[in-house]
Structure formats: structure tokens, C-alpha cells
Amino acid sequence: MKARKVKKLDPDGALTDNAQRIVAVRLKELRSFAPRALDPGESGALHDMRIAAKRLRYVLETTEPALGSSAREGARTAKKLQDLLGDIHDCDVMLPRVRAHTDRLRAEDAEWVREAAGATAKDLAPAAVRSAPHRARYRGLEALTVYLTARRAVLFERFLREWEALEAGGFAVRMMEGLSPPRPEPAAPPGEAAP
């Protein structure tokens, strides 16, 4: 997922001004994935949202000395979101891996049992399966598939709750408002009393 371009960055400008522009774009980018990512079947959108959370987190961590405690808090929020989406992603990666492994073992076993029957066999008794070399492995792999499927569902429901709470609490607006540290007042012209 390519990062959105941030416009009007100035190498000679102040860190705060540039950082605020970057954070604003990264926040918008993160939130833009929400409609699709709230569908449990949209694993691609969830993955993109995780990358967006990571980008937001790193810009906040890097510029935190300039942006203050709101950046620190924002980085923590982004990390929590990134970790949760990462756990869902781990399930999305592992599940097809377990299924592919099981399919391979099944195919090897079928081939083994077929060959054991001999080239001229007319039929095959169920007992022939007893000699399948991977027979003892399926139970654990099926249990793992069940676990990963259920864990993914639990994590996704937690993500929905946590995202809803973040949005209901206006986290994006609060973060942006908190990123404006007070600037030093310009010095009063000579002879003019400070208010």
C-alpha cells in the first residue's frame, strides 16, 4: 500500500509545522480504510489499515519531542491498533498455510494408499487408510484450523468495538488539536507593555 503524498513540506520550515501536515494526512489515510475494513471478509483492507496505523505511529514517535504528549498518546493508540490488526493478519496468513499443509498431506496419503493397493486392484477397503503415513497428523491440524478461525473472529469483533470507541471519542480530532504546542509569544515592541 503506497503512502499518500503529503504536500507543502518544507525542509527549511519548522519541524512542528511539517509534522502536523504529515500526521493530518496519515490520520486521514488510516480512517479512509474504515468502511471496508469493518467487513470481516475484507482482509486486504484490514491489512492496509494496519500499514496505515504503522505509518501514523512511526511519524508520531519520531516527532513526539516536537509535538508533545498528544503525539505520545496518539502513538500508543496507533500501536495498539496496529498490534490488534497484526494479530488478525497473523490468523489470515496462518489459516491458508495450515489448509495447504493439510491438503499436501492428504494428497500424499491418498497417493501412498493408492500405490499400496497395487496396480491391478479392483477396489479398496477402508482399512487400507490405516497405513497412511500422515494419518496421525490430521487431528492436530484440524484443531489448529478451528482455533485460528475462532481466534480471528474474536479478534475482529474486538477490533470493531475498539474502533467504534475510538471514533465515538473523536480520537482524530482530539489528536490533531493536541498537536499544536503553544508557540512563544512574539516579543512586544519597545515601550509597549505586555498584556
Partner: protein, 167 residues
Amino acid sequence: MAKARPIPGLASETRFGDAAAAAVEVRAAEVFEHSAGVLDTKDVEGVHAMRVSTRRLRAALEVFAVCFPRKEHKRLLREVKALADALGERRDPDVAIGALTNAAAELTQAENAGIASLTAELREDQRRGNAGLEQALERVRAGHLEARLAALARAARSDAAEEAATP
């Protein structure tokens, strides 16, 4: 996993280019500090620490992109990404093996044969990932990535800041 080191001298009014130089210097140093022992498959934390450091360096290069000479920045970002990818190819099986080991501890003996079978397949991925990482590290050494990142950082710094940074 080590926490990111604070970047010295960053404040609200710090010139963006000077912040870029400081950020890349600190983040690049972290990457190379974590490179020792990274090929040891028994110590999975080393590769994790280097991968996270590489991600942070990549983030700094992306955040401050506008401050660096364009061509060299693009080239270095590509090289850092290649290193990060090689670290990922090694780290991903480490994580999966760890998760399977934890799962196996909570399943029954009868279920562990299947977990062990998948773990063996992942060990092969880990071995391949390690071989790829060894090659990636060699490319980093031969391409003088560390020195070129230092030069890139200097190019973003103003003369005044460079003078102040020179001992």
C-alpha cells in the same frame, strides 16, 4: 525488543532538514548495532530487533523524504526496504514457529503430531530465510549502506547545524 532511542535536539522550532539528519543518523545506528548475531536461529530476538530498527529507519526516510537529495534517497530507501524484506522472510517463520509451539503446549498429545509436521515445514522456511538474510547482509556491507546513509543525513543538515554537530 529495545525501545527506540530518543533523537537528540528535536524541538518544535527545529529546522525540518536538521531533524531529518538527526533522525536518520540515530535510526541507522540502531540498525547496524543490532546486526551482530542476527543469523543465529536459536536467538530469535536479534533478528526481531534488527527488523524493527530497519522499519524505524525506513519510516524516518519516508517522513523526511523531502529533505534529502532525491536520487540517492530513492536508492537508499530501496536498499533499506530490501534489507527489511530479507529480515521479514526470516522473522515470519520465527513468529509462526513460536505460535505453534505455544499452541502445541495447550493441545493434547494426539494433536501434537500435526503441529510438529507444520513446524518442520516452517523450519525449512526459516532456513531459507536465514540464507537470504545472509546474502542481504553481505549486499549491505559491500554497498557501504551505513556510510551512504550517514552521507545522506549530512546532506539534509544546514551549515549551521553541521558546524554545531561537528566535534
